[in-house]
């Protein structure tokens, strides 16, 4: 079974994101970029399935600017076998990504696609479910445990208030949650091996997909700064302030 693992290049989780001064987006120039942490978990899960003999080949896919090849290279160093870069300078939105991935899935015929439950840049949490809908495949989102038994995929999902177990027919879609696994370090020998692994570059047009944005970003703003609180001297003062200033009681 082939596993397809989409990996997104995002602003590193350690960087404090800054909004561009013209409000059109967040600043990415000169900022450290890394693989979306949920996608790292996806690569790790795929590598573990390969180590268990469940998977035969892992294909890492990234979509966007040529620099996304670096994110693919990281996946290759973790253990993916080859990469596909869908190169475009169009601002890719979840539906476009899902359509492009669906086109790659039609070509590669993977038994499983493992995505992150969300990307830490825009937190849309949309690509996985959209891809499942486009392909008509079952999906196990927010996965915290994955096992393959008798050609079925057992997925434990983290839902509000507990865990839900679902059994899916293959091919299927998984989106990863934080607790699914702890991604490994890419070792030096594997970093060196990754240099020789192939990355194929394709354009959206080659896949017959128009990636043009369907949504318009009106403006991007930082969350409003919270006003400093005040210390009250007594309960009476608190009650009076709640009544007369905050007007909540």
């Amino acid at each position: 079974m082939k596993i397809l693992v989409p990996v997104k290049r995002v602003v590193d989780y350690n960087v404090k994101v800054r909004v561009k001064s013209d409000g059109t987006g967040v600043e990415t120039a000169g900022v450290k970029m890394s693989m979306n942490p949920f996608d790292e978990i996806g690569v790790e899960e795929a590598v573990r399935l390969k180590e268990k003999g469940v998977a035969s080949e892992i294909i890492a896919v990234s979509l966007g600017l040529p620099a996304c090849a670096e994110t693919i290279r990281t996946a290759l160093a973790m253990g993916a076998d080859r990469g596909i870069l869908v190169e475009t300078d169009v601002d890719l939105q979840p539906l476009a990504v899902a359509k492009l991935l669906a086109a790659i899935a039609a070509k590669e015929q993977p038994g499983l696609i493992i995505l992150g439950k969300q990307a830490i840049d825009d937190d849309m949490s949309a690509t996985g479910p959209m891809l499942a809908a486009l392909l008509g495949w079952p999906q196990g989102t927010f996965a915290s445990k994955v096992t393959v038994e008798d050609g079925k995929l057992l997925v434990t999902r983290e839902v509000d208030g507990g865990l839900e177990s679902v059994s899916l027919n293959l091919p299927a879609i998984i989106t990863t949650d934080l607790r699914l696994n702890e991604p490994r370090y890419a070792s030096l020998p594997n970093i060196m091996k990754a240099r020789k692994k192939p990355i194929e570059t394709v354009k959206p047009a080659d896949l017959g997909v128009d990636p043009a944005p369907r949504l318009t970003v009106v403006s991007v703003a930082e969350p409003p700064k919270r006003q400093a609180g005040v210390k009250v001297g007594s309960v009476a003062e608190l009650v009076s302030k709640l009544k007369n200033e905050a007007k909540v009681i």
Binding site: E70, R73, T74, A77, Y185, A186, S187, L188, P189, N190, I191, M192, A194, R195
Partner: protein, 387 residues
Amino acid sequence: MMFELAEEHRMLKDLVAKFVDQELIPLEPAALARETRGEKMGLSHDEEARLHAKCKELGLWGLDVPEQFGGANLPAVALMAVNEELGRTCIPFFFPPDSPNLHMLMAACNEDQKQRYMLPYASGDKKSAIAISEPGAGGDPSGMTTRAVKDGDEWVINGRKIWVSRVPQVDFTIVMARVGEGKRHEGITAFLVDKGTPGFIIEREIPMIGGQRTYELVFDNLRLPDAQVLGTIGQGFAPMQLRLTVRRLQMGAWCTGMAVRALDMMISQAKQRTTFGVKLSDRQAVQWWIADAATRIHACRLMVLHAAAKQDSGGDVRTEASMVKLVATELAQDVIDHAMQTFGAMGMTRELPLQMMMQKVRTMRIYEGPSEVHRMVIARRLIDGRK
């Protein structure tokens, strides 16, 4: 001209950064507490064994060892990226083997010595020290007076060395001694001395700042067969110089990393601490420390990478190595000092790594040649090169 690390070297740097953050920095509080109690600050045998196992698993081993000897054969630029990351912690740790003696052994070993010393050293199975400095000749090692005299098939060494690091933990020491009546570089010869060789006496242990220890050695009719001469008799200065150059570049990278850590700590503290109703990060005095630190770190990193790239392409980098060693140690010293100042009394505690980094960098302005000696060397090359 490219000023960026290759992709795989950037990935290696990320790997080492993770290793430092997750494996080494967490060991700092315990190591600093040990040092405060007057115990050895270095890692325990168990800690080191655990880290070494992890390093082997990650392939962080033999980084600059040639492939035919089982290493990763990385160029100096990649080693600089690795050492910058290692510099961010005050935990004394490196990925075996330590580079300087490796390069000296590779340059000078004959076939038999390759088997007996270089290969076990390259694989990390044997450790080594080097004894150059003497009570009367430190910054100017060509004034050394330890002598080796031929007696039949053997060499007999008499003399004294001082400030030699690591001696009791190592399997062999490279001892520099003079053969014949020559002056300055003339006659300087390297010898391989196994641990426990009669006449090789560890006179005393000298506690140093920075959690370090050095040793004074006495050679009392230390007898060695011809097979222990490393390289050509009388031509020991050049391979020793190569070794010093490797260490100086490495120190440039370490110091860059030390400054990076100190700057990082300085910024977090400045953003957090309010005095007189104003955040320290809003004070120009602190902002200038931050700006100057970042600017000098950038300059120093480029100097280190340039020298390493030049060395990788076969260039002579002795002058650059002097410049790098000088700039980097003084940079780290200043940035750590400003970070300590930003932390106020907290910066004076023995619980923070800053004071340990400060002690270390203080010793680094002396060993591998004091700053003043490097300034002299740089100036001399410039002055002598003028018609």
